[in-house]
């Protein structure tokens, strides 16, 4: 349509009106910090000598890109995110599907699986450290009663990574369940009836009806979980501090140390900016695939 009608203008205006409160809030609270962080990333800015007199250009970025430890953290983080989000998604989806169709006991199951989410990550870390204590922990003791050697949950590099993954899954898997279940419960019933009569098995219904119709919700869920997983730091902080060695040194914890232990904010901001660019790229890809469904 060539010209913009008044109604479209009204729609647009209304859209912005709805968006305004959120935008104002965001602008008031996070705009300045983001801009500040962006600017700071171009300076040799240390909290010990705060000030913008030492312009570094892309120096901080170059340094980060050249920093083996940082790159290692990025790599570990990638593995972590894929493992955590992947497993949580599959498990969460299965549970959400089961729960959606269950007739009895829904509330009980739901309450149970909500509990971990409501527990503070710090506490989660501490509790799991206790439970997984190699000599004093209940898990190794139970394994021992069936003749399994004590597992060095957090002390061996490979194991520690998977232990952290496991604990994060325990803690966050319900996030997926809550969202996916909400998505499932909002799906219309008719296409399922049609599919059943068309002869679709439960799996085929899942594949041909549920998945495509859930795609927007799935994409958003994966996206949000991915972003949160990349930001994981409390659990690492409590459970391993990135160790043993550098086996669990996730990027957020790395940046945290750069900012608040080394007090080297310029570099930390540059790293955060690089992270932002990567995540934004991933988000754009996911968003596009979501739009393909909507149109």
């Amino acid at each position: 349509m060539a010209h913009v009608t008044t109604m479209e203008r009204e729609n647009r205006r209304f859209g912005w009106l709805l968006t305004a409160p959120g935008l104002v809030l965001l602008a008031a609270v996070v705009l300045f910090p983001i801009v500040w962080a962006g600017i700071t990333s171009f300076f040799n800015y240390s909290l010990i000598f705060p000030g913008y007199d030492d312009f570094a250009g892309l120096g901080n970025y170059a340094k980060a890109a050249d920093d083996g430890e940082f790159l290692h953290s990025a790599w570990i983080t990638l593995l972590f995110v894929v493992a955590v989000v992947g497993i949580q998604f599959v498990a969460g989806f299965v549970v959400a599907l089961m729960l959606n169709d269950a007739r009895r006991g829904k509330t009980v199951y739901y309450l149970i699986l909500l509990c971990p989410l409501l527990i503070n990550p710090v506490v989660v870390g501490l509790m799991w450290r206790m439970i997984l204590h190699p000599t004093l922990g209940i898990v190794n003791w139970l394994l021992g009663t069936v003749g399994i050697e004590p597992v060095n949950w957090l002390g061996a590099p490979d194991m520690a990574f998977w232990t952290v993954v496991l604990v994060d899954i325990w803690h966050q898997v319900s996030f997926m369940v809550v969202l996916l279940l909400a998505g499932l419960s909002a799906l219309p019933a008719e296409p399922y009836e049609a599919a059943r009569v068309d002869g679709a098995t439960p799996f085929q219904r899942f594949w041909h009806i549920t998945l495509p119709m859930m795609k927007p919700v799935i994409v958003v869920t994966l996206l949000i979980r991915m972003i949160f997983a990349i930001k994981t730091y409390d659990i690492i902080y409590i459970m391993t501090r990135g160790g043993p060695g550098v086996a669990t040194d996730l990027i957020s914890y790395f940046i945290y140390r750069r900012a608040f232990v080394s007090l080297d904010l310029g570099e930390a901001c540059a790293m955060a900016a690089m992270l932002l660019i990567v995540i934004a790229g991933l988000t754009a890809v996911l968003w596009r695939s979501m739009r393909q469904v909507q149109d």
Partner: protein, 404 residues
């Protein structure tokens, strides 16, 4: 008026809390102790200190932040106030004043409490007759509390039997492992730096210390000690599963706490033994009181500091179980009577070594912790790990202007 102080949840904080009504009554100043997890204190303090209007009247400073806080100019000098009020700083253990009192000749802090590290060991195991004979048979020497590092290592090996461990370590990076290993370094006769602030801890002594550490951790300690923080490690010890544990001196009191310890009355602390009976290998550690530049009411804060570090209150804190920094308290008969280990703690403190404190101490602890952890997990050799840490240390020292 209100004095706000950020503190860590440790026994000493609780003791002050108990005594606060006295202060509030005497001065009319309210005191708010904001208690957070140790790990978060630094994170919480930094923005407060960077900002020109913080909300903390006084703060407590861990020794390894001292260089950084000093360099950034976040603390107010106290000399004028000390002089004006005739506050006596000479009673403090000198090592304390070095660590958390003066920086480059200016007094910024008053030492609050010390947490020098020591060797917790099991007296009951040493006294056990069967052990004594077995030990005599094996090594031809009497089983008694170790006087030298090598004797200690021998005992560690000896007590690793029957599902018990000779030692339990805190191998979590960065500070637990870095602090613990420092004792090994000192015990082996090594030092972190030379006078010119060059790293020397990758010397043969350092490498040997790390190898000892790895052996202890992997061969004579429980599975998973590489990931232990002091809590896990102490739990192993307090459940009676290990003979010894090198740790902070305040765990001595926990040994006798029946709600968390199965070895009440069976543990004692001593300085970490060195190469000879005369030398000690302990690492020193302490907290100091300071008034930040951003303090909204430094005068009231000073009132509080004066009060809390006054001889009476210091003694009262010690009597409640607090950890002393003043010689007069260490020597106080009443205190010794109530806590016989006071003398041992004093000796431990006097024989302890300081960690290099400079602007980048926290960063160095990170580096050291990481490299030690890599060595423990077998991804680097002891020499490689220490060389890497030493190289980074040198860089930091150069950055800080300590080194040419």
């Amino acid at each position: 008026e209100t004095v706000n102080i950020l503190m860590e949840a440790v026994p000493d904080t609780t003791y002050i809390q108990q005594l606060l009504p006295e202060f509030e009554e005497a001065t009319g100043i309210d005191v708010n102790l904001e208690v957070v997890n140790y790990a978060e204190m630094h994170t919480k303090l930094v923005p407060q200190l960077v900002s020109n209007s913080g909300s903390y009247s006084a703060i407590v400073v861990d020794f390894y932040w001292v260089g950084e806080f000093f360099k950034a100019g976040w603390m107010q000098p106290l000399d004028d106030r000390i002089a004006a009020d005739g506050f006596d700083t000479s009673v403090y253990v000198p090592a304390m004043m070095d660590l958390v009192g003066q920086v480059e000749g200016t007094t910024y802090m008053l030492p609050f409490y010390n947490y020098a590290m020591g060797l917790l060991y099991r007296t009951d195991l040493l006294e056990d007759e069967a052990n004594k004979t077995a030990y005599m048979d094996a090594f031809g020497t009497e089983l008694k509390k170790p006087e030298t590092w090598d004797e200690y290592l021998q005992q560690v090996k000896f007590f690793t039997k029957d599902g018990s461990y000779g030692v339990v370590n805190q191998g979590l990076r960065p500070d637990p492992i870095a602090m613990e290993w420092s004792n090994y370094l000192f015990a082996k006769g090594g030092e972190f730096i030379d006078d010119g602030w060059h790293a020397t801890f990758n010397s043969p002594e350092g490498v040997a210390a790390l190898e000892d550490y790895i052996t202890n951790l992997n061969d004579y300690g429980p599975v998973g000690a590489a990931s232990f923080s002091f809590d896990e490690a102490f739990n192993v010890f307090s459940q009676g599963q290990a003979y010894s544990y090198i740790t902070y001196n305040f765990f001595r009191a926990a040994v006798d706490d029946a709600s968390g310890s199965a070895i009440v009355g069976k543990g004692e602390i001593m300085g970490v033994p060195g190469q000879t009976p005369e030398e000690g290998g302990s690492l020193n550690g302490a907290w100091g009181w300071a008034i930040p530049k951003s303090s909204p009411n430094p005068d009231a804060a000073w009132e509080f500091l004066k009060w809390v570090e006054s001889p009476e209150i210091a003694k009262k804190r010690a009597l409640l179980g607090g950890s002393a920094t003043r010689l007069d308290v260490f020597d106080d008969a009443e205190v010794i009577a109530k806590y016989p280990q006071t003398t041992a703690l004093k000796e431990l403190l006097l024989g302890s070594h300081n960690f290099p404190t400079f602007t980048y101490t926290p960063q160095f602890v990170e580096v050291l912790g990481r490299e030690l952890s890599l060595a423990v997990s077998g991804e680097k050799s002891a020499q490689e790990a220490l060389d890497a840490a030493a190289a980074e240390f040198d860089e930091l020292a150069i950055k800080d202007g300590r080194q040419e």
